[in-house]
């Protein structure tokens, strides 16, 4: 690495992460850092060591005798319902007769130390009767093990159009699983209170669901269970449903022992027993014309759901919605199926099914371009959704505020794509064992939960008599800067400094019945709910203001509509001399017996989807982005480096460019990991082989682009969202396809782009080497 340009945009006005100071001083408190009394016990989960079979017998007597062991629980000790699936009741909290993956929880142990718990677990004998597990996705497909009904969307007549297309290509794309690798492993602290009360501190993205599942399992009404989350050490979807499990187990142990119980997973066990991104096998047939216009597409998407449904239905739904990515395909049939295998249940992960589908269409475009000896850039442009024509998706939603063309035009220019393509071609002709590759890939990502009812949020805003404000909302701070954005929203709406505002840890007792912080929706939904609460409070304060002046002063009356909140003061726009500090107005309001606490609520307007006709407007809007990446590939070792990446992204009117920039670079690099080094393998018995960072390789600081340029599209306010902003959590993940396909381009250069390289995702060194080997063989043949 020699020359490096830093990210260009840096905002001096947008605040840094509200916890940044605590992060860098080590003062930020995570669940494992919460001081608890010396009664606290450590929970341990004893799990199945076989992938499929029956439990014949269990002997826990020796373990129970061990000093320091307080409880060993089985499903028989569950007072309520033994289920913890978030959507479908197909996931037992603790195994009864059968086990269906390695890592299925069977027994829970509470002991005074983790060492004692571990020792106890080794004294427990479980005898199994093994049956043949289904570990390979093809086997599940062959055996017909559908876990949910297929989802099909069709527009036009794909079969007919394929038969009349000038060219057709068939193919298969496999995409791999991905481990979330949040830095903070799954953690929960359960503290029993009076009677049935249970206080839960969980590293969860979805406290309301955590509460609901504990309520069912313990047979305790929800109003006795509070779930609190201050911050979590990374999640990426991995704590949307699966944090519930650890919370349920800790709560069960706490309920039985009447003592606080903490479960803090060690890394290896966490990796072994939690679900991953769904691996997929996708088969397609595409029709196109001489100029590369896509005329027809048929795709079958097959996801490995693992042992239970978890969120696979919604993930599959998002996958079939995103098979088009940015391209108008008039005749399209997509069939999505999710299959049951004997692996831990696969779950939410940044992108939520969209990355798998979008990889398929990007691979198709790349292949079509090579077939027609065109630069894939041309074929992409040729097929982009247009502004007023070719602008309806296969599920019938009109793409409004389409930014694809403007992103394309600006990025092709700013990245000097055309010039670099030329110099790369020359470099590649020199016959060295290094090859360069270049690719531009676009992203269109639908924003909203695809299950429309989830698009709601609540907030609670309290103003205290010293003028300080406490904001509670339903969203979780998992590093993405949600609380920072919420503070900004509350501060600007109330016209006071951020120093007067505190965002409270998220708690089900403050804001009930919330949705998960997921689907990139955190600030869209909660920001609006907070704004709604603030508006109520402002109205009350304005009334006090108006009454105050109208009672005392003579002359023209103040009216509520003219009252402005700005610069820590409240004033009358029409009568600027009528001005009072925010704090004074708050004190006056209190004395006038006006409520200084308000709830807020928001539901996304205008979204609907009809499952029978497969048509509707499932998304509130789309987020767009584009990336160009250049790689240098050593064709002898398969090692590569990313020489340069240019990203141009549409974040609407960003609420906080510093934070959005962080989501962009972070999401992109996480995607690069999925596309390259993050490979997951299992052995023939279903044991996860990459179960520690020793063998599972997420990107390091040396794996980022040597020259990394990120910019935002300017002057693109997003109508009808908080501060006219756009969601930013997931879309950047798929920008990493530019790296994936640049690698493919470099491999292709080995055969002077005459042969379609064998390619899948991730593009590991092993895959790259074999693909090059294959091309070299074809060249000499």
């Amino acid at each position: 690495m020699q020359q490096r340009h830093s990210i260009q945009y840096k905002s001096d006005t947008d605040p840094v992460h509200e916890s940044a100071l605590r992060h860098i001083t080590g003062e930020a408190v995570y669940i494992n850092d919460i001081p608890v009394n010396d009664q606290m016990l450590h929970g341990f989960i004893l799990t199945s060591t076989i992938a499929c079979g029956k439990i014949i017998s269990m002997d826990v007597e020796k373990a129970k005798m061990l000093d320091g062991v307080h409880a060993i629980l089985s499903y028989k000790d569950i007072p309520g319902i033994n289920q913890m699936g978030p959507v479908a009741d197909d996931e037992l909290c603790l195994a009864e007769k059968d086990v269906d993956f390695i890592g299925k929880a069977i027994l829970l142990i509470a002991a005074e130390t983790t060492e004692i718990a571990l020792k106890a677990s080794r004294l427990i004998d479980i005898e199994y009767e093994r049956s043949e597990p289904v570990l390979v996705l093809e086997d599940a497909i062959r055996k017909g093990l559908l876990i949910i009904p297929p989802i099909e969307i069709s527009t036009g007549d794909a079969d007919k159009a394929l038969s009349t297309s000038k060219h057709t290509l068939k193919g298969e794309l496999r995409t791999g699983a991905q481990e979330h690798w949040y830095l903070e492993t799954q953690t929960c602290l359960a503290i029993p209170g009076e009677d049935d009360e249970m206080g839960i501190f969980s590293s969860t993205q979805h406290p309301s669901e955590t509460q609901a599942i504990i309520s069912r399992i313990l047979k305790i009404p929800k109003n006795n269970i509070s779930v609190e989350v201050r911050r979590i050490g990374g999640a990426f979807g991995g704590k949307e449903t699966q944090a519930n499990h650890f919370a349920a187990w800790a709560a069960l142990l706490a309920h039985h022992t009447k003592k606080p119980v903490k479960i803090h997973m060690n890394r290896i066990d966490d990796q072994k027993i939690t679900g991953k991104r769904h691996r997929s096998i996708n088969n397609y047939e595409v029709g196109f014309s001489d100029d590369g216009t896509l005329t027809a597409l048929k795709v079958a998407i097959n996801l490995d759901a693992g042992s239970s449904t978890d969120l696979s239905r919604a993930i599959l739904q998002r996958a079939v919605f995103h098979i088009d990515n940015c391209y108008f395909i008039p005749n399209l049939k997509v069939n999505g199926q999710a299959w049951k295998t004997n692996h831990p249940s696969n779950t939410a992960f940044r992108g939520f099914g969209a990355p798998q589908a979008m990889a398929v269409i990007e691979q198709i475009i790349d292949k079509v371009a090579r077939y027609l000896s065109k630069d894939p850039l041309e074929v992409r442009f040729q097929n982009f959704y247009r502004l007023s024509t070719n602008n309806i998706t296969h599920y019938g939603q009109i793409i409004e505020n389409n930014r694809l063309i403007v992103l394309y035009e600006q990025l092709v220019k700013s990245s000097a794509y055309v010039e670099r393509r030329k110099s790369i071609n020359e470099f590649n002709k020199a016959g060295l064992h290094y090859k360069k590759g270049l690719a531009l890939t676009p992203v269109k990502f639908g924003v909203s939960f695809t299950a429309s009812f989830l698009n709601q949020a609540g907030a609670l805003v309290n103003i205290y008599t010293d003028g300080t404000v406490l904001v509670s909302h339903g969203g979780i701070e998992m590093g993405q800067g949600l609380h920072t954005k919420i503070m900004q929203v509350a501060a600007s709406e109330l016209g006071i400094g951020r120093e007067y505002i505190k965002v409270d840890p998220t708690n089900t007792s403050k804001v009930p019945n919330t949705s998960a912080t997921a689907a990139s929706s955190g600030s869209d939904l909660n920001g609006m709910a907070v704004k709604n609460a603030v508006e109520k409070l402002k109205k009350r304060l304005a009334e006090v203001f108006v009454n105050e002046y109208n009672e005392k002063k003579s002359g023209e009356l103040s009216v509520i509509e003219d009252i402005r909140f700005s610069g820590n003061f409240v004033s009358d726009n029409e009568h600027p001399e009528r001005k009072i500090s925010f704090e004074k107005l708050v004190k006056k309001s209190y004395k006038k017996r006006v409520s200084l606490s308000a709830t807020g609520f928001y539901k996304t307007p205008g979204i609907y989807y009809d499952r029978t006709s497969s048509k509707g407007n499932p998304f509130h809007y789309y987020a767009f982005g584009m990336a160009v990446s250049e790689v240098l590939l050593d064709t002898l070792t398969g090692q590569f480096s990313i020489l340069r990446t240019d990203i141009l992204h549409d974040a609407g009117n960003s609420i906080n460019k510093n934070i959005d920039k962080g989501q962009l670079s972070g999401g992109f690099i996480q995607g690069v990991g999925w596309c390259t080094t993050e490979e997951i393998k299992w052995d023939e018995n279903g044991h996860l082989l990459n179960h520690s960072p020793d063998t599972y390789k997420i990107p390091t600081i040396r794996d980022i682009p040597e020259d990394f340029r990120i910019s935002f599209l300017q002057n693109v306010p997003n109508p009808n969202t908080i501060k006219k902003s756009k969601a930013i959590g997931e879309p950047p993940f798929m920008l990493s396809f530019s790296v994936w396909l640049a690698i493919k381009d470099a491999i292709s250069a080995v055969g002077d782009h005459r042969f379609e390289p064998e390619f899948s995702l991730p593009a590991t060194k092993e895959l790259i080497l074999k693909s090059i080997e294959d091309i070299r063989k074809k060249m000499t043949a």
Partner: protein, 479 residues
């Protein structure tokens, strides 16, 4: 035991702290990570993996360097046993800020928005702090090298790298410099403490001399010798019986060179070996650049890596190809053995139970020698090799090869030479035709295993391609 102490003393929070292992609260096999987290005010240190692969638990160790200054090194506290702190200064994230202002690295982290979820951040701050103390205006390579051992899943690293480049511009001057003289005094007070010798379920001794180490080994025959303990600390998460820590023996840390040999004490850390070989043996330093992370290289030792006899050791192929020898010491005397002979089988060596590996001797070769090394791993850094290689050609008359050594890791149960290919190359000219033929022989010479890192076929391809790569890069850059 006489001459040893069941107490240790080290500097933390500006004070000398004493831990008495006889009070039963702590085991000597307790990691510094878990020790810190048991204290009320040091929970900033985080466990991200517990196996030295993520750096969330990074702390900095300060040690006396000469009589009046302190050296600062970032290490993984999850791979450090508590008694190893004896005589050192332990610096944690809570110590980094000054009384009234943030440390420059923290300030830069803040300004560059370099934290998101914050869980990896304390470790990153510590690695960056060590970089700050050791580098003035580091190159991007040096800065990223210092941070390779710190995984972050949120930021994409760019802001972290920007922060490092921004912060490290002041010759390492900070509040630690201001109080360095005081800290030196504290460290001098504990410098001549009796070395730790703690007996219990796990017993730990840190002898000060080779003789004492051999005495201990005679007494406790199943004792395990450790030094950096980076490989063993997480494997022995259970309760090892006897640990003899060789890190207190200065004889094991010597480096010398004369016209014939370079001599490396077995206790030199990989980072020290890397620095010593930069000028003389670039084939060695090159491969050590991608050995683990800086935190690991600061602790792991040359002797430890050799004695682990791992089939994917990054050190062994280059030692094979440079015909290095190991020096073994027992009460009966010294013996010397070729490294290649020393490696017996998978993770087994020919060391006798009463011996200590004291050093490595590498013969200096003339100008007619070509040395080359390479490591291929799935991830460029902080990863275990899929295949690694150390090659050496000695050229004889008429540009013919008089000796070829091609040593590979990752292709067999031990580091292994490609004897057939070597024999083929002898007395040949190193031209393209020869290399192509040799690489085909090489392709078939091994029966590598398929495992989680790679399948057998790719390993064969790599073995063959590495010879081609060596030829292209070293012998014929125009190829």
């Amino acid at each position: 035991m006489t001459g040893y102490s069941h107490k240790i003393r080290f500097v933390l929070d500006g004070k000398i702290l004493e831990v008495d292992f006889n009070d039963g609260r702590y085991s000597p096999a307790l990691t510094v990570l878990n020790y810190l987290r048991s204290l009320p005010n040091h929970r900033g240190v985080k466990e991200g993996c517990g196996v030295g692969d993520c750096g969330a638990c990074t702390v900095v160790l300060g040690e006396l360097a000469g009589d009046d200054s302190i050296s600062y090194k970032a290490v993984n506290s999850c791979l450090l046993y508590l008694p190893m702190l004896q005589g050192k200064q332990l610096i944690t994230v809570e110590n980094v800020a000054g009384e009234h202002e943030l440390h420059p690295v923290q300030q830069a982290m803040l300004e560059e928005n370099a934290s998101q979820c914050g869980y990896c951040t304390p470790g990153i701050v510590m690695s960056m702090f060590a970089l700050y103390k050791n580098h003035h205006q580091p190159s991007l390579k040096a800065a990223s090298d210092a941070l390779t051992g710190n995984l972050c899943r949120c930021t994409g690293y760019q802001p972290i790298l920007d922060a490092a480049m921004k912060a490290c511009t002041n010759n390492g001057i900070d509040h630690f410099s201001a109080s360095e003289a005081d800290t030196v005094q504290l460290l001098k007070q504990i410098r001549s403490d009796d070395p730790p010798g703690i007996e219990g379920v796990t017993s730990y001794f840190r002898p000060s001399s080779l003789e004492a180490a051999l005495d201990l080994k005679t007494r406790f025959q199943n004792a395990i010798f450790i030094d950096g303990a980076t490989d063993i600390a997480f494997q022995l998460a259970g309760q090892p019986e006897y640990l003899i820590d060789l890190s207190g023996i200065s004889d094991l840390k010597t480096f010398s060179k004369d016209e014939q040999y370079l001599y490396f004490g077995a206790g030199l850390t990989i980072e020290e070996v890397r620095a010593h070989t930069e000028d003389h043996l670039p084939a060695i330093s090159k491969i050590l650049e991608v050995f683990g992370s800086l935190q690991i290289r600061n602790r792991a030792t040359l002797g430890g890596n050799i004695c682990s006899a791992s089939p994917i050791s990054d050190v062994l192929p280059v030692l094979f190809s440079s015909e290095a020898t190991v020096e073994l010491l027992s009460k009966k005397g010294k013996r010397e053995l070729a490294v290649e002979k020393f490696i017996k089988s998978y993770r087994e060596t020919r060391i006798n139970p009463d011996e200590i590996l004291t050093g490595v001797r590498i013969p200096v070769r003339g100008e007619n020698t070509i040395s080359w090394s390479s490591k291929v791993s799935n991830r460029q850094d902080l990863d275990i090799a899929t295949v690694n290689a150390g090659f050496r050609f000695i050229m004889g008359q008429d540009e013919l090869v008089s000796q070829a050594i091609l040593a590979f890791g990752g292709l067999a149960a031990t580091t292994k030479r490609a004897i057939k290919t070597e024999n083929f190359l002898v007395n040949k000219k190193l031209d393209e035709k020869t290399i192509r033929q040799a690489s085909e022989i090489l392709y078939h010479e091994f029966e590598p295993i398929s495992d989680v890192r790679s399948d057998s076929a790719s390993r064969r391809i790599l073995a063959r391609n590495l010879l081609l790569k060596c030829y292209i890069e070293y012998l014929n850059p125009n190829f």
